[in-house]
């Protein structure tokens, strides 16, 4: 039986661990925290997962919270004007629902499932020295811990990393008591609120440790009015600041947010990071090789909500590459081609996400505006969050956008 060591118990590490385990591999998973510590700890992300990513979980039979998590049927975009009005305000309908399960719930549960199914779970914050030693005794070592010392083994790929500093300051609050948008009282939807030149507020219906909730997520341009969370440690203070900014810039969202409460003591998260693509193969001091997984090798800004989707897609792609390789050696060439196969799809996510971080060009503003008049455009944009490769067809090139909008307008009339 082939032995695989996976470091990191997030979406990608655990999904991959459960995946290779189900194919009969002997798997050791190393996590720096126990399931209980994760469950009682701080929120880790916003994780709105769309259909393709959710299907990967269903394929492995690990969609344990599907019946409890709100079904997100729409994705809306609103743009605020300096006078507080909403010149752009629409919602696109997803072909299949999305869901967001708090990773504290999911990762803790998946770790227990992994152990109950016979996986070896070792609680340890892994250092390079550990891996140097352990790589001798495993057929394959995968690094899926996107933060910490191990990431330094993977060099930055400058040609694929246009930014060298964080493009947004991030502040997340999980809350109970967010009212629905009055215009769609029965629709669960992700809402992307754009404050031009300042930042974005994203709201996501989710499931947390205490049941259904909503996530309020500010993305602030560095140095701008939403970049005020550094040094704010108290969860209540983070929520208060979040709500102050909503009241000031997005009055329609404040109307439904005024009575919210934090879900628990660990329900907030702040920080920032620079988007980066790294080389996928890490070399240990003694010459052993390790393969980076998901955000270890491709870390995009969360503005497009793709982190957990990319993690699920990466885990599914790597699983195929591992099983198809049979008994052959997991060498450098295999590692590179395994990453290249994932990058085939992941490159579209990176290109689109990086594009949204900059000021929107004229043709993109036109596209977002037209989606308010043409529901088919809104729907296509919304479903692009499930399959970002589709943006290649109409989003980046002004001529293609114009051609698509002309076609969509005539189809409607």
């Amino acid at each position: 039986m082939r032995k695989i060591l996976i470091v990191g118990a997030g979406q990608a590490g655990l999904q991959l661990a459960l995946g290779v385990q189900s194919k009969g591999y002997e798997v050791t998973l190393m996590s720096n925290r126990t399931p209980a510590e994760i469950r009682n700890g701080r929120v880790m992300s916003t994780q709105c997962m769309f259909h393709t990513a959710l299907q990967h979980e269903r394929d492995l039979g690990i969609n344990s919270w599907e019946d409890q998590a709100p079904r997100i049927e729409g994705l809306g975009v609103s743009v605020t004007a300096p006078d507080g009005s909403r010149p752009i305000d629409w919602v696109g309908h997803l072909d299949a629902y999305a869901q967001s399960v708090d990773q504290r719930v999911k990762m803790a549960g998946w770790m227990e499932t992994f152990a109950a199914r016979g996986g070896r779970l070792v609680i340890h914050g892994v250092a390079v020295s550990d891996l140097d030693y352990l790589s001798r005794t495993y057929d394959l070592v995968l690094v899926a811990a996107g933060k910490g010392e191990l990431v330094s083994m993977f060099g930055r790929d400058d040609s694929r990393s246009p930014y060298d500093s964080p493009q947004r300051a991030l502040a997340v609050s999980y809350v109970h008591g967010l009212a629905p948008r009055p215009e769609h009282p029965d629709l669960h939807a992700v809402r992307l609120n754009l404050v031009p030149g300042a930042g974005e507020l994203i709201t996501i219906p989710a499931l947390t440790t205490s049941g259904p909730c909503d996530i309020l997520f500010w993305e602030g341009l560095p140095g701008g009015p939403m970049d005020v969370f550094d040094g704010v440690k108290e969860p209540a203070e983070i929520l208060r600041t979040t709500l102050d900014l909503i009241r000031r810039y997005l009055p329609w969202e404040y109307d439904r947010a005024r009575d919210v409460e934090l879900t628990d003591a660990g329900s907030t998260l702040t920080g920032r990071f620079a988007p980066v693509v790294r080389n996928p193969v890490g070399e240990l001091p003694s010459g052993g090789l390790v393969l980076g997984v998901a955000d270890v090798v491709v870390a995009n800004d969360p503005i497009t909500g793709q982190g957990s989707n990319s993690a699920a897609k990466c885990a599914a792609s790597y699983l195929d590459s591992i099983t198809e390789h049979g008994d052959k050696l997991f060498d450098r060439e295999w590692m590179q081609s395994t990453f290249d196969r994932y990058w085939d799809d992941a490159q579209h996510v990176t290109k689109w996400t990086n594009a949204l971080l900059g000021p929107p060009p004229e043709h993109v503003l036109g596209l977002i505006g037209a989606a308010g008049q043409i529901p088919a455009v809104a729907n296509r944009f919304a479903n692009g969050f499930d399959d970002p490769a589709d943006f290649e067809q109409y989003f980046f090139e002004p001529a293609r956008t114009a051609a698509y909008l002309a076609k969509a307008a005539s189809a409607q009339s």
């Binding site: 039986m1 070792v122 340890h124 550990d130 891996l131 352990l134 005794t137």
Partner: protein, 143 residues
């Protein structure tokens, strides 16, 4: 104590570290059923967790020269030898000069195989035992 003293205090030869690639295949161990002291969610091996070998006199011979000894890494044999008396995870790491993460993985492996038993920390959660901390500290000093 000099850092490279070869016999450690209990007379267990410090395992020579094998070179990369050598015996790569033979390093594999047979898959075992999930018994041998596992808790529901695996062994949580804190630095102060106590472990000890589960073996009788006849097993001792096997450890040194039998089938099992030929199949596993010398590090695994060294751990089992060391654990003939109760040891903390920190002590094992210190005495064998092995990274803590490696010790944790190998101990998990040995526990799954029923070669060692995991005894816990000897104190209730949140109430550290003074004598225990002394032992862990003395283990760490030998690093």
């Amino acid at each position: 104590m000099p850092r490279h003293a070869s016999p450690v205090s209990d007379g267990v030869a410090a395992a020579a570290l094998p070179t990369r690639g050598a015996g790569r295949r033979s390093a594999r161990v047979r898959p075992y059923a999930l018994t041998g002291g596992r808790t529901q969610f695996g062994h949580v091996l804190l630095v102060e967790t106590f472990v000890a070998a589960i073996d009788g006199p006849e097993d001792r011979l096997e450890i040194l020269s039998g089938d099992w000894a030929e199949r596993v890494m010398p590090e695994m044999r060294a751990i089992v030898e060391l654990c003939r008396r109760m040891r903390s995870v920190a002590e094992i790491s210190a005495l064998l000069r092995m990274p803590l993460g490696v010790v944790r993985v190998l101990l998990s492996d040995l526990a799954d195989q029923g070669r060692i038993r995991v005894y816990g920390t000897g104190h209730a959660p949140g109430a550290p035992d003074h004598a225990l901390l002394e032992r862990v500290l003395s283990g760490l000093r030998r690093l």
